[in-house]
Protein backbone atom coordinates (compact mmCIF):
# COMPACT_ATOMS: atom_id res chain seq x y z
CA UNK A 1 0.00 0.00 0.00
CA UNK A 2 0.97 3.64 -0.29
CA UNK A 3 3.12 5.68 2.01
CA UNK A 4 1.14 8.73 3.09
CA UNK A 5 2.63 11.77 4.78
CA UNK A 6 0.14 13.83 6.77
CA UNK A 7 0.96 17.39 7.78
CA UNK A 8 -0.85 18.68 10.84
CA UNK A 9 -1.16 15.09 12.02
CA UNK A 10 -1.48 16.07 15.69
CA UNK A 11 -4.67 18.02 14.97
CA UNK A 12 -8.08 16.42 15.31
CA UNK A 13 -8.64 15.87 11.61
CA UNK A 14 -5.03 14.81 10.99
CA UNK A 15 -5.17 12.25 13.77
CA UNK A 16 -8.36 10.82 12.30
CA UNK A 17 -6.95 10.58 8.77
CA UNK A 18 -3.81 8.92 10.14
CA UNK A 19 -5.81 6.28 11.98
CA UNK A 20 -8.05 5.57 9.02
CA UNK A 21 -5.13 5.35 6.60
CA UNK A 22 -3.21 2.99 8.90
CA UNK A 23 -6.32 0.85 9.27
CA UNK A 24 -6.46 0.51 5.48
CA UNK A 25 -2.90 -0.76 5.53
CA UNK A 26 -1.14 2.38 4.38
CA UNK A 27 2.23 3.33 5.81
CA UNK A 28 1.60 6.58 7.66
CA UNK A 29 4.06 9.35 8.43
CA UNK A 30 2.77 12.13 10.65
CA UNK A 31 4.28 15.60 10.83
CA UNK A 32 3.28 18.38 13.21
CA UNK A 33 4.76 21.21 15.25
CA UNK A 34 3.53 19.51 18.42
CA UNK A 35 3.86 15.85 19.41
CA UNK A 36 1.10 13.56 18.24
CA UNK A 37 -1.06 11.84 20.81
CA UNK A 38 -0.86 8.04 20.73
CA UNK A 39 -3.61 5.84 19.39
CA UNK A 40 -5.72 3.75 21.75
CA UNK A 41 -6.10 1.02 19.17
CA UNK A 42 -2.37 0.66 18.72
CA UNK A 43 -2.21 2.29 15.31
CA UNK A 44 1.38 2.70 14.22
CA UNK A 45 2.36 6.08 12.82
CA UNK A 46 5.89 7.36 12.33
CA UNK A 47 5.62 10.80 13.88
CA UNK A 48 7.96 13.77 13.43
CA UNK A 49 7.79 16.89 15.55
CA UNK A 50 8.86 19.50 13.06
CA UNK A 51 7.75 22.89 11.78
CA UNK A 52 6.89 23.07 8.08
CA UNK A 53 8.86 26.30 7.87
CA UNK A 54 12.07 24.66 9.12
CA UNK A 55 14.78 23.06 7.05
CA UNK A 56 14.28 19.81 8.94
CA UNK A 57 10.91 19.31 7.31
CA UNK A 58 12.56 19.09 3.90
CA UNK A 59 14.81 16.37 5.31
CA UNK A 60 11.75 14.44 6.44
CA UNK A 61 10.24 14.56 2.95
CA UNK A 62 13.59 13.74 1.33
CA UNK A 63 14.18 10.83 3.68
CA UNK A 64 10.64 9.41 3.72
CA UNK A 65 9.84 9.88 0.00
CA UNK A 66 6.05 9.55 0.50
CA UNK A 67 3.80 8.50 -2.39
CA UNK A 68 1.06 10.77 -1.20
CA UNK A 69 0.82 13.89 0.96
CA UNK A 70 -2.28 15.05 2.83
CA UNK A 71 -1.90 18.72 3.75
CA UNK A 72 -3.79 19.63 6.91
CA UNK A 73 -1.26 21.88 8.67
CA UNK A 74 -3.27 25.06 8.89
CA UNK A 75 -3.86 27.50 11.68
CA UNK A 76 -7.62 27.98 11.67
CA UNK A 77 -8.02 29.85 14.97
CA UNK A 78 -7.10 33.41 15.93
CA UNK A 79 -5.11 32.69 19.07
CA UNK A 80 -1.92 33.47 17.15
CA UNK A 81 -1.72 36.94 15.65
CA UNK A 82 -2.98 37.40 12.11
CA UNK A 83 0.46 37.91 10.54
CA UNK A 84 1.82 34.67 12.00
CA UNK A 85 -1.30 32.77 11.02
CA UNK A 86 -1.03 34.07 7.49
CA UNK A 87 2.67 33.20 7.28
CA UNK A 88 2.28 29.65 8.57
CA UNK A 89 -0.64 28.91 6.27
CA UNK A 90 0.55 30.53 3.05
CA UNK A 91 4.35 30.30 3.27
CA UNK A 92 4.12 26.82 4.82
CA UNK A 93 1.99 25.61 1.93
CA UNK A 94 4.37 27.18 -0.60
CA UNK A 95 7.30 25.20 0.86
CA UNK A 96 5.29 21.99 0.98
CA UNK A 97 4.30 22.38 -2.70
CA UNK A 98 7.95 22.86 -3.66
CA UNK A 99 8.99 19.70 -1.78
CA UNK A 100 6.17 17.71 -3.37
CA UNK A 101 7.45 18.63 -6.83
CA UNK A 102 11.08 18.14 -5.83
CA UNK A 103 10.82 14.73 -4.15
CA UNK A 104 8.54 12.86 -6.50
CA UNK A 105 5.29 12.93 -4.55
CA UNK A 106 2.64 11.47 -6.87
CA UNK A 107 -0.53 12.49 -5.09
CA UNK A 108 -1.28 15.59 -3.03
CA UNK A 109 -4.54 16.29 -1.21
CA UNK A 110 -4.93 19.79 0.21
CA UNK A 111 -7.79 20.36 2.61
CA UNK A 112 -8.96 23.88 1.86
CA UNK A 113 -12.40 25.13 2.96
CA UNK A 114 -15.73 26.09 1.46
CA UNK A 115 -15.37 29.31 3.49
CA UNK A 116 -13.05 30.44 0.68
CA UNK A 117 -16.14 31.41 -1.33
CA UNK A 118 -17.26 33.79 1.39
CA UNK A 119 -20.79 34.30 2.71
CA UNK A 120 -22.37 36.94 0.51
CA UNK A 121 -26.01 37.85 -0.07
CA UNK A 122 -25.78 37.29 -3.83
CA UNK A 123 -24.31 33.79 -3.50
CA UNK A 124 -26.26 31.16 -5.40
CA UNK A 125 -27.64 28.45 -3.13
CA UNK A 126 -25.16 25.93 -4.49
CA UNK A 127 -21.76 27.26 -5.52
CA UNK A 128 -19.68 25.24 -7.93
CA UNK A 129 -15.93 24.92 -7.85
CA UNK A 130 -15.34 27.55 -10.53
CA UNK A 131 -17.10 30.21 -8.47
CA UNK A 132 -14.85 33.10 -7.39
CA UNK A 133 -13.19 32.93 -3.96
CA UNK A 134 -14.72 36.04 -2.43
CA UNK A 135 -14.09 35.55 1.27
CA UNK A 136 -11.65 38.45 1.62
CA UNK A 137 -14.33 40.94 0.56
CA UNK A 138 -16.09 40.71 3.92
CA UNK A 139 -13.80 38.59 6.09
CA UNK A 140 -10.22 39.69 5.36
CA UNK A 141 -8.85 37.94 8.46
CA UNK A 142 -9.18 34.57 6.74
CA UNK A 143 -7.96 35.58 3.31
CA UNK A 144 -5.13 33.05 3.80
CA UNK A 145 -7.73 30.32 3.10
CA UNK A 146 -8.32 31.75 -0.37
CA UNK A 147 -4.62 32.38 -0.91
CA UNK A 148 -3.63 28.82 -0.01
CA UNK A 149 -6.36 27.53 -2.28
CA UNK A 150 -5.20 29.73 -5.17
CA UNK A 151 -1.57 28.76 -4.62
CA UNK A 152 -2.49 25.09 -4.83
CA UNK A 153 -4.69 25.59 -7.92
CA UNK A 154 -1.72 27.18 -9.70
CA UNK A 155 0.45 24.26 -8.59
CA UNK A 156 -2.15 21.82 -9.91
CA UNK A 157 -1.62 23.21 -13.43
CA UNK A 158 2.11 23.87 -13.17
CA UNK A 159 2.94 20.37 -11.98
CA UNK A 160 0.74 17.79 -13.69
CA UNK A 161 3.15 15.08 -12.51
CA UNK A 162 1.91 15.65 -8.94
CA UNK A 163 -1.75 14.77 -9.04
CA UNK A 164 -3.25 17.48 -6.84
CA UNK A 165 -6.73 17.42 -5.31
CA UNK A 166 -8.00 20.51 -3.52
CA UNK A 167 -10.92 19.69 -1.25
CA UNK A 168 -13.24 22.42 -0.02
CA UNK A 169 -15.25 20.85 2.81
CA UNK A 170 -18.20 22.59 4.46
CA UNK A 171 -18.65 23.08 8.24
CA UNK A 172 -17.08 20.05 9.86
CA UNK A 173 -18.28 18.71 13.21
CA UNK A 174 -17.08 15.81 15.31
CA UNK A 175 -15.41 14.74 18.54
CA UNK A 176 -11.85 15.51 17.46
CA UNK A 177 -11.98 18.61 15.25
CA UNK A 178 -11.88 22.05 16.83
CA UNK A 179 -13.65 24.11 14.21
CA UNK A 180 -14.87 27.66 14.66
CA UNK A 181 -18.40 26.48 13.90
CA UNK A 182 -18.04 23.72 16.49
CA UNK A 183 -17.00 26.26 19.11
CA UNK A 184 -19.90 28.47 18.11
CA UNK A 185 -22.49 25.71 18.37
CA UNK A 186 -21.06 24.47 21.67
CA UNK A 187 -22.18 27.61 23.49
CA UNK A 188 -25.29 27.24 25.69
CA UNK A 189 -26.65 30.55 24.45
CA UNK A 190 -25.82 30.94 20.79
CA UNK A 191 -25.95 34.51 19.46
CA UNK A 192 -27.59 34.81 16.05
CA UNK A 193 -28.54 37.82 13.97
CA UNK A 194 -32.14 38.91 14.37
CA UNK A 195 -34.06 38.20 11.18
CA UNK A 196 -31.42 36.00 9.54
CA UNK A 197 -31.34 32.25 9.35
CA UNK A 198 -29.10 31.07 6.50
CA UNK A 199 -28.99 27.54 5.17
CA UNK A 200 -25.87 25.71 6.37
CA UNK A 201 -24.25 22.42 5.40
CA UNK A 202 -22.54 20.13 7.85
CA UNK A 203 -20.13 17.27 7.42
CA UNK A 204 -18.90 14.77 9.98
CA UNK A 205 -15.14 14.62 10.55
CA UNK A 206 -15.10 10.88 9.81
CA UNK A 207 -16.76 11.47 6.47
CA UNK A 208 -14.20 14.18 5.70
CA UNK A 209 -11.40 11.75 6.61
CA UNK A 210 -12.96 9.18 4.27
CA UNK A 211 -13.26 11.80 1.54
CA UNK A 212 -9.58 12.67 1.92
CA UNK A 213 -8.44 9.06 1.67
CA UNK A 214 -10.85 8.39 -1.18
CA UNK A 215 -9.12 11.25 -3.04
CA UNK A 216 -5.75 9.54 -2.48
CA UNK A 217 -7.13 6.17 -3.53
CA UNK A 218 -8.81 7.48 -6.69
CA UNK A 219 -5.74 9.57 -7.61
CA UNK A 220 -7.96 12.61 -7.80
CA UNK A 221 -6.84 15.73 -9.63
CA UNK A 222 -8.78 18.99 -9.52
CA UNK A 223 -10.83 21.13 -7.16
CA UNK A 224 -13.75 19.58 -5.30
CA UNK A 225 -16.38 20.78 -2.85
CA UNK A 226 -17.20 18.22 -0.16
CA UNK A 227 -20.66 18.99 1.18
CA UNK A 228 -21.94 16.20 3.42
CA UNK A 229 -25.52 15.04 3.80
CA UNK A 230 -27.41 18.30 3.28
CA UNK A 231 -28.38 21.76 4.43
CA UNK A 232 -30.61 23.12 7.20
CA UNK A 233 -31.29 26.63 8.47
CA UNK A 234 -28.92 27.72 11.23
CA UNK A 235 -31.62 27.70 13.90
CA UNK A 236 -32.30 24.00 13.27
CA UNK A 237 -28.64 23.18 13.87
CA UNK A 238 -28.63 25.18 17.11
CA UNK A 239 -31.82 23.47 18.33
CA UNK A 240 -30.64 20.02 17.35
CA UNK A 241 -27.36 20.29 19.26
CA UNK A 242 -29.29 21.46 22.32
CA UNK A 243 -28.40 25.15 22.34
CA UNK A 244 -30.60 28.18 22.83
CA UNK A 245 -30.70 30.75 20.10
CA UNK A 246 -30.24 34.37 21.21
CA UNK A 247 -31.15 36.62 18.28
CA UNK A 248 -29.45 40.01 18.54
CA UNK A 249 -29.81 42.96 16.19
CA UNK A 250 -26.84 43.18 13.89
CA UNK A 251 -26.09 46.79 14.86
CA UNK A 252 -25.45 45.56 18.39
CA UNK A 253 -23.78 42.25 17.58
CA UNK A 254 -21.09 43.56 15.26
CA UNK A 255 -19.52 46.15 17.59
CA UNK A 256 -19.74 43.76 20.54
CA UNK A 257 -17.89 41.04 18.65
CA UNK A 258 -15.33 43.56 17.37
CA UNK A 259 -14.54 44.84 20.89
CA UNK A 260 -14.47 41.40 22.48
CA UNK A 261 -12.26 40.01 19.72
CA UNK A 262 -9.97 43.04 20.08
CA UNK A 263 -9.55 42.26 23.78
CA UNK A 264 -9.02 38.58 23.05
CA UNK A 265 -12.30 37.65 24.73
CA UNK A 266 -14.10 36.29 21.68
CA UNK A 267 -12.67 33.59 19.40
CA UNK A 268 -13.61 35.10 16.00
CA UNK A 269 -13.44 38.57 14.40
CA UNK A 270 -16.64 40.34 13.27
CA UNK A 271 -16.16 39.24 9.66
CA UNK A 272 -17.24 35.76 10.77
CA UNK A 273 -20.72 37.16 11.42
CA UNK A 274 -21.51 37.04 7.71
CA UNK A 275 -21.35 33.25 7.92
CA UNK A 276 -24.36 33.23 10.26
CA UNK A 277 -26.12 35.84 8.13
CA UNK A 278 -25.76 34.78 4.48
CA UNK A 279 -25.47 31.34 2.94
CA UNK A 280 -22.15 29.81 1.94
CA UNK A 281 -23.47 26.52 0.62
CA UNK A 282 -21.86 24.51 -2.13
CA UNK A 283 -22.61 21.83 -4.69
CA UNK A 284 -20.63 18.60 -4.31
CA UNK A 285 -21.84 17.05 -7.57
CA UNK A 286 -18.31 17.00 -8.96
CA UNK A 287 -16.81 15.15 -6.01
CA UNK A 288 -19.62 12.61 -5.86
CA UNK A 289 -19.35 11.96 -9.60
CA UNK A 290 -15.57 11.54 -9.42
CA UNK A 291 -15.46 9.28 -6.37
CA UNK A 292 -18.93 7.90 -5.73
CA UNK A 293 -18.63 9.40 -2.25
CA UNK A 294 -21.69 9.10 0.02
CA UNK A 295 -21.53 10.53 3.53
CA UNK A 296 -22.27 7.89 6.17
CA UNK A 297 -23.36 10.39 8.81
CA UNK A 298 -26.79 11.95 8.32
CA UNK A 299 -27.43 15.45 9.68
CA UNK A 300 -29.47 13.98 12.52
CA UNK A 301 -26.61 11.67 13.48
CA UNK A 302 -24.07 14.50 13.32
CA UNK A 303 -26.20 16.74 15.55
CA UNK A 304 -27.07 13.95 18.00
CA UNK A 305 -23.45 12.99 18.40
CA UNK A 306 -22.48 16.62 18.91
CA UNK A 307 -25.18 17.04 21.52
CA UNK A 308 -24.13 13.92 23.43
CA UNK A 309 -20.47 14.94 23.41
CA UNK A 310 -21.26 18.42 24.62
CA UNK A 311 -23.53 17.19 27.42
CA UNK A 312 -20.82 14.74 28.44
CA UNK A 313 -18.13 17.42 28.58
CA UNK A 314 -20.46 19.75 30.50
CA UNK A 315 -21.11 17.10 33.14
Amino acid sequence: MAKILITGAAGGQGHLVARLAAARGDEVVGVDRVPMAGFEDGTQVRAYVVDLMRRKFEDVVRHERPDAVVHLAFVRHFRTDLATRHKINVAGTRLLLDYCAEYGVRQLVVVSSAYAYGALPENPSYMHEDFALNVSRTYPEVRDIAEVDTLCSAFLWQHPEVRTAILRPVNTLGDSVHSAIGGYLKQSYVPTILGFDPMMQFLHEEDLARAILLSVERKLRGIFNVAGPGAVPLHVAIEQVGGTQVPLPEVALRPIVRRLFGFGLYPVPPGAIDFIKFPCTVSDERFRAATGFEPRWSLRDIFERFRTERERSAA
Partner: protein, 326 residues
Protein backbone atom coordinates in the same frame (compact mmCIF):
# COMPACT_ATOMS: atom_id res chain seq x y z
CA UNK B 1 -25.21 4.57 9.46
CA UNK B 2 -27.60 5.09 6.58
CA UNK B 3 -26.92 8.31 4.68
CA UNK B 4 -29.89 10.63 4.50
CA UNK B 5 -30.46 10.29 0.78
CA UNK B 6 -33.38 12.64 0.58
CA UNK B 7 -31.29 15.39 2.16
CA UNK B 8 -28.56 15.27 -0.45
CA UNK B 9 -27.72 18.80 -1.41
CA UNK B 10 -28.83 18.47 -4.99
CA UNK B 11 -30.28 15.21 -6.24
CA UNK B 12 -29.29 14.39 -9.77
CA UNK B 13 -31.52 15.96 -12.41
CA UNK B 14 -32.54 12.93 -14.45
CA UNK B 15 -33.62 10.94 -11.45
CA UNK B 16 -34.93 13.89 -9.48
CA UNK B 17 -38.57 13.29 -10.25
CA UNK B 18 -38.47 9.95 -8.47
CA UNK B 19 -37.25 11.57 -5.33
CA UNK B 20 -40.04 14.09 -5.06
CA UNK B 21 -42.11 13.33 -2.05
CA UNK B 22 -45.07 14.83 -0.39
CA UNK B 23 -44.87 16.51 2.96
CA UNK B 24 -46.81 16.92 6.11
CA UNK B 25 -47.40 20.64 6.25
CA UNK B 26 -49.92 20.82 9.03
CA UNK B 27 -47.40 21.58 11.76
CA UNK B 28 -46.66 25.17 12.62
CA UNK B 29 -43.02 26.17 12.20
CA UNK B 30 -40.91 26.22 15.30
CA UNK B 31 -39.08 29.30 14.08
CA UNK B 32 -41.98 31.74 13.84
CA UNK B 33 -40.37 35.14 13.33
CA UNK B 34 -41.72 38.68 13.46
CA UNK B 35 -42.81 38.50 9.81
CA UNK B 36 -44.68 35.30 10.47
CA UNK B 37 -46.19 36.79 13.62
CA UNK B 38 -47.45 39.73 11.54
CA UNK B 39 -49.05 37.37 9.08
CA UNK B 40 -50.77 35.32 11.75
CA UNK B 41 -52.06 38.56 13.29
CA UNK B 42 -53.56 39.54 9.94
CA UNK B 43 -55.06 36.07 9.60
CA UNK B 44 -56.52 36.33 13.09
CA UNK B 45 -58.06 39.66 12.24
CA UNK B 46 -59.56 38.30 9.03
CA UNK B 47 -60.89 35.28 10.88
CA UNK B 48 -62.55 37.54 13.43
CA UNK B 49 -64.05 39.90 10.86
CA UNK B 50 -65.44 37.08 8.77
CA UNK B 51 -65.95 34.04 10.96
CA UNK B 52 -65.67 30.76 9.13
CA UNK B 53 -63.79 32.27 6.21
CA UNK B 54 -60.85 29.95 6.80
CA UNK B 55 -62.69 26.68 7.25
CA UNK B 56 -62.80 25.99 3.50
CA UNK B 57 -59.47 27.64 2.76
CA UNK B 58 -57.61 25.67 5.39
CA UNK B 59 -59.02 22.36 4.28
CA UNK B 60 -58.09 23.13 0.69
CA UNK B 61 -54.61 24.41 1.51
CA UNK B 62 -53.70 21.44 3.66
CA UNK B 63 -54.84 19.04 0.96
CA UNK B 64 -52.87 20.91 -1.71
CA UNK B 65 -49.73 21.39 0.37
CA UNK B 66 -49.64 17.70 1.12
CA UNK B 67 -49.60 17.02 -2.62
CA UNK B 68 -47.06 19.71 -3.49
CA UNK B 69 -44.00 18.01 -4.90
CA UNK B 70 -40.93 19.12 -3.00
CA UNK B 71 -37.65 17.71 -1.84
CA UNK B 72 -38.15 18.29 1.85
CA UNK B 73 -35.59 16.67 4.12
CA UNK B 74 -35.79 15.21 7.60
CA UNK B 75 -35.94 18.64 9.24
CA UNK B 76 -38.67 20.00 6.96
CA UNK B 77 -36.61 22.13 4.56
CA UNK B 78 -35.77 21.62 0.93
CA UNK B 79 -32.22 22.23 -0.36
CA UNK B 80 -33.05 25.88 -1.11
CA UNK B 81 -34.65 26.58 2.27
CA UNK B 82 -38.31 26.18 1.31
CA UNK B 83 -40.41 24.97 4.23
CA UNK B 84 -44.02 23.80 3.72
CA UNK B 85 -44.74 24.41 7.41
CA UNK B 86 -43.49 28.01 7.25
CA UNK B 87 -45.30 28.49 3.94
CA UNK B 88 -48.69 27.51 5.35
CA UNK B 89 -49.65 30.80 6.98
CA UNK B 90 -48.44 33.04 4.14
CA UNK B 91 -50.37 30.77 1.80
CA UNK B 92 -53.52 31.13 3.92
CA UNK B 93 -53.20 34.89 3.55
CA UNK B 94 -52.60 34.59 -0.19
CA UNK B 95 -55.55 32.21 -0.54
CA UNK B 96 -57.78 34.68 1.31
CA UNK B 97 -56.76 37.44 -1.11
CA UNK B 98 -57.02 35.05 -4.05
CA UNK B 99 -60.54 33.88 -3.27
CA UNK B 100 -62.12 36.89 -1.57
CA UNK B 101 -60.21 40.03 -2.52
CA UNK B 102 -59.02 39.66 -6.09
CA UNK B 103 -61.56 36.84 -6.72
CA UNK B 104 -59.15 35.33 -9.21
CA UNK B 105 -60.41 33.43 -12.21
CA UNK B 106 -57.76 31.13 -13.60
CA UNK B 107 -57.84 29.26 -16.88
CA UNK B 108 -55.39 27.21 -18.84
CA UNK B 109 -54.04 25.48 -15.72
CA UNK B 110 -54.05 22.22 -17.68
CA UNK B 111 -51.28 23.69 -19.86
CA UNK B 112 -48.70 23.14 -17.11
CA UNK B 113 -46.24 20.55 -18.37
CA UNK B 114 -44.97 17.96 -15.92
CA UNK B 115 -41.43 18.53 -14.71
CA UNK B 116 -39.35 21.63 -15.28
CA UNK B 117 -41.14 24.71 -16.51
CA UNK B 118 -40.40 28.42 -16.77
CA UNK B 119 -43.53 30.51 -16.24
CA UNK B 120 -43.20 33.87 -17.99
CA UNK B 121 -45.71 36.48 -16.90
CA UNK B 122 -46.52 40.15 -17.30
CA UNK B 123 -45.90 42.43 -14.35
CA UNK B 124 -47.96 45.45 -13.37
CA UNK B 125 -49.66 47.30 -10.55
CA UNK B 126 -46.79 48.89 -8.56
CA UNK B 127 -46.85 46.13 -5.92
CA UNK B 128 -46.11 42.55 -7.05
CA UNK B 129 -49.54 41.20 -6.06
CA UNK B 130 -49.72 39.61 -9.51
CA UNK B 131 -46.74 37.41 -8.70
CA UNK B 132 -48.27 36.42 -5.37
CA UNK B 133 -51.58 35.52 -7.02
CA UNK B 134 -49.80 33.46 -9.68
CA UNK B 135 -48.05 31.52 -6.91
CA UNK B 136 -51.35 31.02 -5.03
CA UNK B 137 -53.20 30.08 -8.23
CA UNK B 138 -50.63 27.49 -9.23
CA UNK B 139 -51.27 25.73 -5.95
CA UNK B 140 -55.02 26.28 -5.60
CA UNK B 141 -56.28 26.03 -9.18
CA UNK B 142 -53.69 23.98 -11.04
CA UNK B 143 -53.85 20.21 -11.12
CA UNK B 144 -51.51 18.79 -9.86
CA UNK B 145 -50.52 21.77 -7.67
CA UNK B 146 -47.12 23.32 -8.42
CA UNK B 147 -44.85 25.53 -6.36
CA UNK B 148 -43.60 28.47 -8.43
CA UNK B 149 -40.12 29.51 -7.35
CA UNK B 150 -39.66 33.26 -7.60
CA UNK B 151 -36.27 34.67 -8.57
CA UNK B 152 -35.66 37.40 -6.01
CA UNK B 153 -33.54 40.54 -6.29
CA UNK B 154 -29.93 40.21 -5.14
CA UNK B 155 -30.61 42.36 -2.11
CA UNK B 156 -33.49 40.22 -0.80
CA UNK B 157 -31.20 38.24 1.53
CA UNK B 158 -29.90 41.48 3.07
CA UNK B 159 -33.35 42.34 4.45
CA UNK B 160 -33.89 40.92 7.93
CA UNK B 161 -37.02 38.72 8.26
CA UNK B 162 -38.11 39.41 4.68
CA UNK B 163 -35.11 37.61 3.23
CA UNK B 164 -35.65 34.62 5.49
CA UNK B 165 -39.38 34.60 4.79
CA UNK B 166 -38.76 34.78 1.04
CA UNK B 167 -36.48 31.79 1.26
CA UNK B 168 -39.00 29.80 3.33
CA UNK B 169 -41.82 30.37 0.83
CA UNK B 170 -39.72 29.13 -2.07
CA UNK B 171 -37.98 32.20 -3.51
CA UNK B 172 -34.28 32.07 -4.35
CA UNK B 173 -31.79 34.79 -5.19
CA UNK B 174 -32.15 35.40 -8.90
CA UNK B 175 -28.74 34.26 -10.07
CA UNK B 176 -28.32 32.32 -13.27
CA UNK B 177 -26.84 29.44 -11.30
CA UNK B 178 -29.83 29.16 -8.97
CA UNK B 179 -32.31 29.25 -11.84
CA UNK B 180 -30.41 26.60 -13.75
CA UNK B 181 -30.12 24.37 -10.68
CA UNK B 182 -33.85 24.62 -10.02
CA UNK B 183 -34.81 23.87 -13.62
CA UNK B 184 -32.39 20.98 -13.91
CA UNK B 185 -34.12 19.52 -10.87
CA UNK B 186 -37.53 19.84 -12.50
CA UNK B 187 -38.83 22.71 -10.42
CA UNK B 188 -41.21 25.39 -11.72
CA UNK B 189 -39.65 28.86 -11.88
CA UNK B 190 -41.53 32.10 -12.43
CA UNK B 191 -39.94 35.13 -14.09
CA UNK B 192 -41.16 38.56 -15.14
CA UNK B 193 -39.00 39.60 -18.09
CA UNK B 194 -40.39 43.14 -17.97
CA UNK B 195 -39.08 43.53 -14.42
CA UNK B 196 -39.71 46.91 -12.80
CA UNK B 197 -40.27 48.40 -16.27
CA UNK B 198 -43.60 46.59 -16.23
CA UNK B 199 -44.34 46.81 -12.53
CA UNK B 200 -43.83 50.56 -12.19
CA UNK B 201 -45.17 51.82 -15.50
CA UNK B 202 -47.72 54.61 -15.44
CA UNK B 203 -51.44 54.44 -16.25
CA UNK B 204 -51.10 55.63 -19.85
CA UNK B 205 -49.04 52.52 -20.67
CA UNK B 206 -51.48 50.00 -19.16
CA UNK B 207 -51.62 46.64 -20.89
CA UNK B 208 -48.62 47.47 -23.03
CA UNK B 209 -45.96 44.83 -22.56
CA UNK B 210 -42.66 46.60 -21.89
CA UNK B 211 -39.30 45.52 -23.27
CA UNK B 212 -38.46 41.90 -22.33
CA UNK B 213 -35.09 40.87 -20.94
CA UNK B 214 -33.45 37.98 -22.78
CA UNK B 215 -31.98 36.10 -19.82
CA UNK B 216 -34.97 33.81 -19.33
CA UNK B 217 -34.78 32.54 -22.91
CA UNK B 218 -31.07 31.79 -22.64
CA UNK B 219 -31.76 29.79 -19.46
CA UNK B 220 -34.62 27.93 -21.12
CA UNK B 221 -32.35 27.02 -24.03
CA UNK B 222 -29.52 25.94 -21.73
CA UNK B 223 -31.74 23.69 -19.65
CA UNK B 224 -34.17 22.56 -22.35
CA UNK B 225 -37.12 23.96 -20.41
CA UNK B 226 -40.58 24.60 -21.85
CA UNK B 227 -41.89 28.14 -21.41
CA UNK B 228 -45.40 28.63 -20.12
CA UNK B 229 -46.75 32.09 -21.02
CA UNK B 230 -49.00 33.58 -18.35
CA UNK B 231 -51.01 36.77 -18.41
CA UNK B 232 -52.74 38.55 -15.55
CA UNK B 233 -55.53 40.91 -16.48
CA UNK B 234 -56.64 43.21 -13.67
CA UNK B 235 -53.41 44.11 -11.97
CA UNK B 236 -53.01 47.24 -14.10
CA UNK B 237 -56.04 48.78 -12.42
CA UNK B 238 -55.14 47.88 -8.82
CA UNK B 239 -52.95 50.98 -8.40
CA UNK B 240 -53.14 53.26 -11.42
CA UNK B 241 -49.99 55.41 -11.36
CA UNK B 242 -50.62 58.90 -12.64
CA UNK B 243 -46.95 59.76 -12.38
CA UNK B 244 -43.68 58.35 -11.19
CA UNK B 245 -41.48 60.71 -9.20
CA UNK B 246 -38.20 59.20 -10.34
CA UNK B 247 -35.89 61.72 -8.56
CA UNK B 248 -37.64 61.08 -5.25
CA UNK B 249 -37.38 57.33 -5.85
CA UNK B 250 -33.65 57.68 -6.47
CA UNK B 251 -33.33 59.73 -3.31
CA UNK B 252 -34.84 57.00 -1.12
CA UNK B 253 -33.29 54.17 -3.14
CA UNK B 254 -36.60 52.73 -4.30
CA UNK B 255 -37.17 51.46 -7.86
CA UNK B 256 -40.06 53.94 -8.30
CA UNK B 257 -42.21 56.43 -6.43
CA UNK B 258 -45.67 56.20 -7.98
CA UNK B 259 -48.44 58.73 -7.42
CA UNK B 260 -51.76 56.91 -7.45
CA UNK B 261 -55.25 58.14 -6.51
CA UNK B 262 -54.62 56.71 -3.05
CA UNK B 263 -50.84 56.92 -2.59
CA UNK B 264 -49.25 58.83 -0.95
CA UNK B 265 -52.38 60.80 -0.03
CA UNK B 266 -53.86 58.07 2.16
CA UNK B 267 -50.49 57.22 3.69
CA UNK B 268 -49.66 53.55 4.17
CA UNK B 269 -53.31 52.68 3.59
CA UNK B 270 -52.84 53.98 0.06
CA UNK B 271 -50.48 51.08 -0.59
CA UNK B 272 -53.43 48.73 -0.50
CA UNK B 273 -54.28 47.70 -4.06
CA UNK B 274 -57.86 48.36 -5.19
CA UNK B 275 -60.10 45.27 -5.07
CA UNK B 276 -59.93 44.64 -8.79
CA UNK B 277 -60.86 41.28 -10.27
CA UNK B 278 -57.92 39.23 -11.54
CA UNK B 279 -58.04 36.98 -14.56
CA UNK B 280 -55.05 34.69 -14.93
CA UNK B 281 -54.62 32.69 -18.10
CA UNK B 282 -51.89 30.25 -19.04
CA UNK B 283 -51.19 29.66 -22.73
CA UNK B 284 -49.89 26.52 -24.37
CA UNK B 285 -46.29 25.71 -23.43
CA UNK B 286 -43.68 26.87 -25.96
CA UNK B 287 -40.55 24.87 -26.64
CA UNK B 288 -37.40 26.34 -28.11
CA UNK B 289 -34.11 24.85 -29.20
CA UNK B 290 -30.93 26.70 -29.99
CA UNK B 291 -27.64 27.94 -28.70
CA UNK B 292 -28.11 29.65 -25.31
CA UNK B 293 -25.11 31.88 -26.05
CA UNK B 294 -26.33 33.01 -29.45
CA UNK B 295 -26.40 36.63 -30.54
CA UNK B 296 -29.06 38.90 -29.08
CA UNK B 297 -30.88 39.28 -32.42
CA UNK B 298 -31.52 35.54 -32.63
CA UNK B 299 -32.60 35.18 -29.02
CA UNK B 300 -34.76 38.30 -29.41
CA UNK B 301 -36.72 36.56 -32.15
CA UNK B 302 -37.55 33.67 -29.80
CA UNK B 303 -38.44 36.08 -27.00
CA UNK B 304 -40.69 37.83 -29.52
CA UNK B 305 -42.64 34.62 -29.95
CA UNK B 306 -43.28 34.39 -26.22
CA UNK B 307 -44.25 38.05 -26.14
CA UNK B 308 -46.63 37.49 -29.06
CA UNK B 309 -48.30 34.58 -27.30
CA UNK B 310 -48.72 36.76 -24.23
CA UNK B 311 -50.20 39.62 -26.27
CA UNK B 312 -52.80 37.21 -27.68
CA UNK B 313 -53.66 36.00 -24.18
CA UNK B 314 -53.90 39.57 -22.98
CA UNK B 315 -56.16 40.66 -25.83
CA UNK B 316 -58.47 37.76 -25.18
CA UNK B 317 -58.48 38.43 -21.46
CA UNK B 318 -59.33 42.10 -21.94
CA UNK B 319 -62.04 41.28 -24.47
CA UNK B 320 -63.67 38.65 -22.29
CA UNK B 321 -63.75 40.47 -18.98
CA UNK B 322 -66.98 42.13 -17.98
CA UNK B 323 -65.48 44.91 -15.91
CA UNK B 324 -62.53 46.00 -13.84
CA UNK B 325 -64.06 45.10 -10.50
CA UNK B 326 -66.33 42.19 -11.49
Amino acid sequence: MEPARHLRALPDGARAQRRLRTVDATRLPADASAGEAAISWLLDLAGRLAPGVFSDIDREIDAKLARLPSRVGEFGYDPWGFSPAAFRNPLRLLALLYRHYFRVELDGGHNFPAGRVLVIANHAGQLPADGAMLIAGSILDVEPPRLLRAMAEYWMPTLPFIGTMGCRVGAVVGTKQNCEDLLRRDEAVIAFPEGVRGLNKTWDKRYELQRFGLGFMRLALATDTPILPAVIVGSEEQAPALANLAPLARLIGAPAFPITPTFPFLGPLGLLPLPVKYHISFGAPLRFTGNPHDEDTIVERMVGEVRGAMMDLMERGLRDRRGVFF
